[in-house]
Every structure is written in structure tokens, then in C-alpha cells.
Symmetry: C2
Subunit: 217 residues, 2 copies
Amino acid sequence: MSGNGPDERAGAAADGAGGWPVDLTGVTETVVTTLGPNGLWNAAALGVFTGDEDGDSDSGAASKPPTATAKTWGNTRTRRNFRRQGEGYVQFVDDPVTFVDAALSISEHEAPVLESAAAWTRVAVESIDRGTENGTEWVAWRLRPLESAIERETVPTINRGFGAVVEATVAASRLGVVGYDDDQLRERLAYCESVVERAGGPRERAALERVRECADW
Amino acid sequence: MSGNGPDERAGAAADGAGGWPVDLTGVTETVVTTLGPNGLWNAAALGVFTGDEDGDSDSGAASKPPTATAKTWGNTRTRRNFRRQGEGYVQFVDDPVTFVDAALSISEHEAPVLESAAAWTRVAVESIDRGTENGTEWVAWRLRPLESAIERETVPTINRGFGAVVEATVAASRLGVVGYDDDQLRERLAYCESVVERAGGPRERAALERVRECADW
């Protein structure tokens, strides 16, 4: 709502320094901003994995908060900036257009915290694993929360159009990638489109247009 | 969190009497409870439609809040109770198991407001249209908010597993229904299952198990 620098927000920190501002389970789709060599903050989609019942014991002691990890795929800005800076801002957004822009386009900003972030966490990142899948190099990162703030809370609502935009984004990002079937992806995109037409609001429809513009679809 | 009778909650009313406790756009998937002849409140899934940019003018004057409508399909408990009572409680839930139970099973409760409702609105309902599609009689209802309360707000997070549970519920409810292709629905269910396995947390996995139990899947 208000400014978008993190400094004046530290007072709103959720759990003091250290914790996440929300309970994370499974994979939470977030937007991460990382500082690039051009002095701008690059926004990209990042799936944050949290161990549930298995009780990840990466950190040695049985400590809270749970270990959060994320993978970068390929030689992306996020990977390069993580490596150079060792940190980034993980953001919880609920605007579908912001999510699509981060996932499918180059989205650069002067400040690390986006207008549409409902909450954010500054994290220290450390690479813990790497590998190659279908010719794409991935790096796994451990995310350690340093500082968090909640900007705004909402009554949770369920909109199938919103979910369909997220699925469309995932499918679109895989078009032309080795290991995925383009016909199947396009079929899924058509289904997502029908759901957005039926159940989405204006922001979901705008977001799907952005998917169409950004992807080869 | 606390009790589940609406009376002591009126003080928390969002917009005073009359409004919805959230901005609604497109179709919002809710759970509605309606009082049955057995004295119990029946919980069922209800998609609430709100006119966006078109500016629905059903109510004559250009008045806020926007007109909300919903359709019941077939001779359901919700339709019968709407007809008998002329009202119900529309609830905004974020627990996937509650949503699946309401959508796919007979779910009856002693109190109108569910434990897992983040917010609720008591609505007066009036049938405004009816028709038949593929042999199923539908009735369209106008929903007029009478009283609302917010129980709890959250930082919005995106979990693909949650969206996949909602999609699985829709697909499962159409299995065996004239006008839908079972093979296509089962393919969609398999995809939803793969997303829940990959991205869901424990509640999403439990919810998908419920879909499997309730539906012929």
C-alpha cells in the first residue's frame, strides 16, 4: 500500500527477526527479488519447499523454524544474484498479474519489496545441492529467514480462476523445454483459459493475457 | 477459533449489516450452510457469482454492494433449504478438507458457522431464474447479505496443491454426469493428484484422500 522500501517496515516484523510471517507447508509459490549488477531488484517466481511431517534435520538440532529450500533452474538472474549477494526478499503476493510478470518476464524494480507483497521475508541463501535434469542445471538453496514483515492480511477466498492462472504460468514456462510434451501443455493451457473465462475476475483475465503475451502460446 | 454460533459474533461485523466481508470478483467458491428439516445445518459448496465490470443492474438503482448470485444444480439439500428458509450462511473457508467434505459428502452441523470459516455472511436468498441443462434442473438465486463477520485474516499464500484439490473436487463431482467425458475427468484428476503430491501440504493430501473416498474414483 504505502512505500516500498523495507527499512521503515521493520517495526511491523511478524515474529521478530528470524521466522517466516506465515505457516508454510508443502511448496509455497512466492516471488523473490534479488539485487542485480545493474542496481535493480529482479523479481522472479520461486517455489519455497518446507519439510512437513518428515522433520528435516538439515540444521542439526531439532530447531524451529522448519528448513525452507528452493531450486533455481538454469542460469537465471535469480541464480546469479543469489550467488553474488547471498540473499534476497521472498514475497507473498496475491495479485495474479504480479505473479505472472515475475514468472514469465524480466521484471526489474528500484526497491526490493513489491507494492503487491502482502508479506515479505529477507532470506540468506546458501547453495546445498546441484544437478542436471534434461540438460538444465539446477541449484538447490537453503533459505534462512533474517527479517520479516506483514504488510496486509486478508480474508482468504477461493477463486478457481486464480489457481488456473498459476497453473497456466507453470505450463507456459515449460513450453519448448526438453522433457515436456508441448501438445499436453497446450491442452492444459486451454483448460486454464476456460476456467479463467468462467470463474476469474478482471485481474485473473488480465493475468492470463500476460501469460499469452509472454509465452509462445 | 472460538465458538461457532453467530450471535456473539455480530460485534465483529465487517461492514455493519449489509455488505460482504471481502471484495468479491468473478466466481468465489464458498461453503454455504442451510437449515434442514432435521434441525441440522447442511454444509455444501456454493459458487458465488459477482458481476464485475458489466455493472449488473438487477437491483434497479446503481447500488453497492454488487449483486451476488449462485446456482443450485438438481434437487439438493441446499435448494430445498433455500426454498423453505429463504436464507443461509455463506462462508469463506481455507481448509481444503472442509471444502471437499462440503462439496462431495453429506456434511451436517449443529451450528450454522463452521469452525474453519475465516469469515461468513448471512444471506437472504430469492430464486430469480431456473432451467434444465443435460437433464439437471438448476435454480439461480440472488443472495442479499444481511449480516457479516470476519473471524480471522491471513497472509495470502499460493499453494498449487490447494488449487489442485479444488479442481479435483469439481472434476469428481462431474463423474457420471451426463454432458461430461469421464475419461477426460479422470485424466484431470490424475493431474491434480500429481500436483498435490508434489506441492501440497498435509491438509491438501488429506483432502485429496477425501475426494477419492467420496467420489467414484
